[in-house]
Structure formats: structure tokens, C-alpha cells
């Protein structure tokens, strides 16, 4: 059974339709890379999956449970299954690294102090930042902050992780350390949906690549096929623009 099931999803901002009927199934453990020009609706699609954006038509289920915007309890349950990493990290600056990781489990899962701290240390070790438990976010580099954000999201034990251009705000030399962590997650069987501009990474790690164009899924295929033999002129144009 798919973890995420999207059917006929449509989303409008005023009179501007940004998603024009999206159908997508994501199986557990799949890594989906979403590529496309800016304005093609890829970020909006991602943000619909955890309810940061509402949609106008269609249906979206996670773990077989439909997403209901008006049902607070259902949204809270859904967001525990779906983690999200942002381009701008969005660490909480008033909390230490450890505090950032522990906050949500403590409030939402009622996890106590020792258990929460232990879990946070394990997760920080997993992203290679074991020694930063007591550091403040503004003492870390962008790459380190993004890895803390990943650990923070993992602390809620999500079934699906959404990554919204998570390396776009990083200096080039810091991109690698974040992508290595994401690759590790993929190897451990985490289901990932990532909007990305890192085509080499998509080629290496993704099980499927989705090319979005003008609010629709224009082409979707395993990376070798999609990058090796693009079927549509729009995708060919998009890919060739990247190489120039």
C-alpha cells in the first residue's frame, strides 16, 4: 500500500492555478526527487502533503488516512507521520540544539526528560553533530543547522520526510555534508520526497524522478530513464538549460 496517495490534486492562489491535477503514489522506502522550473508548483505540492497549504480539489492520503484540514486532531496525527525540512532551516533560535530536537517529542509525544535527551543525542550523533548538543543554532554553520533540522524532524519518528530545496541556501562546500545525511536516511529505508536542484544527487539516490511543468507532472521515471532519455521537449529544454 502506498504511504502517500495523491489523486486529482488542484490548488489555486486566487485565479492562478498552480497545481492542475496531480496524481502520485509513493511506496514505503521510495525516494522521489521532484525537479522543475521555479513556479512549476513543486514546492506547493510538497507543502500540501503536510497541510502547510490547503488544496481546492482532489484527495491526499497518508498511511491510508485522508488529509482533513479542518480536523485539528487528524492534522496533528498526520504531521507526526510527515516530517519537513526547509530551505531556511528554521531552527528555533531561543533553544539549544538539544532543545530544538527535544521540544516536539516532549510536547506532542509526552516523552520525558531522560528519554528525550537520550534520543536527541542519538539523533545528533546520526547526523554527525553529537558534540553540539548544548550549542546554540547561531553558533553553527548552515550545513550544521540543516543537519540539526533533520535530527529535529527525525525525533518525531516520521514515516515520510519532505525536503524543500534543503541545500539551496547553503554555501557550495556545505551541500555535501547535508546530502550525505539524506543519503543515509534513504539507505535506512526512509520514504523521502525532495524538491531539489541537485541533479547528480537525484540521479544517484532517487528511485523515481518527477519533472513538474506548469502545475502538472509532466514526466516521471527512474532517474536513468528520465535523465538519459527525456521524452518531452519541455524536459529536454529544462535539462539542457542546467548544463549551460
Amino acid at each position: 500500500m502506498p504511504v502517500v496517495e495523491i489523486r486529482g490534486l488542484r490548488k489555486r492562489f486566487g485565479s492562478n492555478e498552480v497545481l492542475k491535477g496531480i496524481d502520485l503514489d509513493v511506496e514505503p522506502g521510495e525516494v522521489i526527487a521532484i525537479i522543475g522550473k521555479s513556479g512549476s508548483g513543486k514546492s506547493t505540492l510538497l507543502r500540501c502533503i503536510n497541510g502547510l497549504e490547503t488544496f481546492d480539489e482532489g484527495s491526499l492520503t497518508v498511511d491510508g488516512k485522508p488529509l482533513l484540514h479542518d480536523d485539528r486532531a487528524a492534522m496533528r496525527a498526520l504531521r507526526q507521520r510527515v516530517g519537513m525540512i526547509f530551505q531556511s532551516f528554521n531552527l528555533f533560535p531561543h533553544l539549544t540544539v538539544g532543545g530544538n530536537v527535544m521540544l516536539a517529542p516532549e510536547l506532542v509525544k509526552k516523552r520525558g526528560q531522560p528519554a528525550g535527551a537520550q534520543q536527541a543525542r542519538l539523533l545528533l550523533a546520526r547526523v554527525g553533530l553529537a558534540e553540539k548538543f548544548d550549542a546554540w543554532p547561531d553558533q553553527l554553520s548552515g550545513g550544521q543547522q540543516q543537519r540539526v533540522a533533520i535530527a529535529r524532524s527525525l525525533a518525531m519518528e516520521p514515516a515520510v520526510m519532505l525536503c524543500d530545496e534543503i541545500t539551496s541556501a547553503l554555501d557550495p562546500e556545505l551541500v555535501g555534508e547535508v546530502l550525505r545525511v539524506v543519503e543515509g536516511l534513504a539507505k535506512d529505508g526512509m520514504t523521502l520526497l525532495m524538491v531539489t536542484h541537485e541533479m547528480n544527487f537525484a540521479r544517484k539516490v532517487a528511485s523515481r524522478v518527477v519533472f513538474m511543468h506548469a502545475g502538472k507532472i509532466h514526466e516521471m521515471a527512474p532517474p536513468d530513464e528520465l535523465f538519459g532519455a527525456p521524452k518531452t521537449p519541455e524536459l529536454r529544454q529544462f535539462l539542457s538549460a542546467l548544463h549551460n
Binding site: N50, G51, L52, R72, R76, R79, Q80, V82, G83, M84, F86, S88, N90, L91, F92, P93, H94, L103, A104, L107, V108, A149, R152, S153, M156
Partner: protein
């Protein structure tokens, strides 16, 4: 003709200054509580409560405090409820303070980047948890200097309560002038006392601003 020494004047003014302090505290604490409630209403509520709070703020920011005091004093009496200058002054100043504080604080909350809300939402925190654990701790740091600064405005605002017969520092000054015929001496003392109340607070606000700035 009775002779008044300077000490007589100062002593009586000091006694009246107590009520300036008490009225300021009531206005500030009451206004803070109402202002906080309005802030939550504005952030959480739908379009209607949003419009209500915006209207409330506009009403109190768009009319002179003096009129608000008159309206509170004479307006309550219109409903057949016996009122005192005390109650009317406390009520008007509380409402006035709440309108300004809620607007100051709304600005502070609005200055927190949207990504902070989104990260908190994505971690499955509910609205009150987002506010309590993520937004307010950050907004409070920004809010402290302007809030303390506004306290100075409230203290000076209490002077207007003298027009509805509330005996605080300014009213006492007028009464003592009428008895002593030494307006300059009396009002100089009154002004000095306001300054002694307000200056340390604005100095405190400035030092808080420097401290909070230095850490970010």
C-alpha cells in the same frame, strides 16, 4: 493667611503621587492582561475577531485619551450606574493601555519569520504550543524595550485623570496652587516628580534594548 513651606508642598505632592503610581500600575497590569487576551484573539480567531481587535485598536488610538476619560466617567453614569473618578480613570486607562500594548505586541509577533511558525506546525505542535514555546519566547525579547517604554506614556497619561476629579499628582498640584498661589514652585515640583518616576524607566528600557540587541 497661612504660610506654606516648601516641605508642605512637597509632602502633599508626594502623598498624591502614590495615586499616580497606583493608577499607572492598575492601567499597566490591567491593560497588559486585556492586551494579551486581544493578541491571542487576533492571532487565533477568524476574520471577525481580527476585524474586532483592529477596530478596537483604531478606536483607542484614534481618539484623545482625554475624551476616553470623559466618556468613561459620564458614559457609565448614563447607564444609571454610580461611578467614581477612581473607577472611570482605571477603566479608561486600562482600555487605552490594552489597545496600545496589543498593537505593540502584534508587531513583535509579526516580526518573527513565518518559517518559525511553519517549522512548529510541521512538528505537529498545536496553535497554543506554537505560540507558547516557539513564537512568544522570541517575540518577548523584542517586545520588552517598547513595552517598558510605553509604561512611561501611561504614567504621563494618568495626569489627564485629573480632569474628571481624580486626585493624583497633577490634580494635587492644581489644588495646592490654589491654596498657596505659588504656581511655578508647585508645578516645578510636580514636573520633577514625574521625571523622577519616568526617567529611571526609560533608562531601563534603553539598557534592555542594548542588552537584547547585543545578544542577537
Amino acid at each position: 493667611m497661612v504660610d506654606f513651606t516648601l516641605w508642605d508642598i512637597v509632602r502633599n505632592l508626594l502623598l498624591a503621587a502614590r495615586w499616580t503610581v497606583v493608577l499607572s500600575l492598575i492601567a499597566f497590569v490591567g491593560g497588559g492582561l486585556v492586551g494579551a487576551a486581544l493578541l491571542v484573539l487576533r492571532l487565533w480567531g477568524g476574520r471577525r475577531s481580527h476585524a474586532f481587535v483592529a477596530g478596537y485598536v483604531q478606536l483607542f488610538q484614534g481618539t484623545p485619551l482625554l475624551m476616553q476619560l470623559f466618556l468613561a466617567y459620564f458614559g457609565i453614569a448614563l447607564f444609571g450606574i454610580q461611578t467614581s473618578p477612581w473607577f472611570a480613570a482605571a477603566l479608561a486607562l486600562t482600555l487605552y493601555t490594552s489597545a496600545f500594548l496589543t498593537e505593540i505586541w502584534r508587531g513583535c509577533v509579526a516580526s518573527i519569520p513565518r518559517g518559525q511558525w511553519e517549522a512548529a506546525v510541521s512538528l505537529a505542535l498545536d496553535f497554543l504550543e506554537q505560540l507558547r514555546y516557539v513564537i512568544l519566547p522570541q517575540a518577548t525579547r523584542i517586545a520588552v524595550p517598547p513595552t517598558v517604554g510605553f509604561l512611561v506614556q501611561v504614567i504621563k497619561g494618568t495626569a489627564l485623570a485629573s480632569v474628571i476629579g481624580f486626585v493624583e499628582l497633577t490634580k494635587a498640584g492644581t489644588m495646592i496652587t490654589n491654596a498657596t498661589f505659588r504656581p511655578f514652585t508647585v508645578y516645578a515640583c510636580v514636573a520633577l516628580m514625574y521625571f523622577v518616576l519616568c526617567f529611571p524607566i526609560s533608562a531601563w528600557a534603553r539598557s534592555l534594548e542594548r542588552k537584547l540587541h547585543a545578544r542577537r
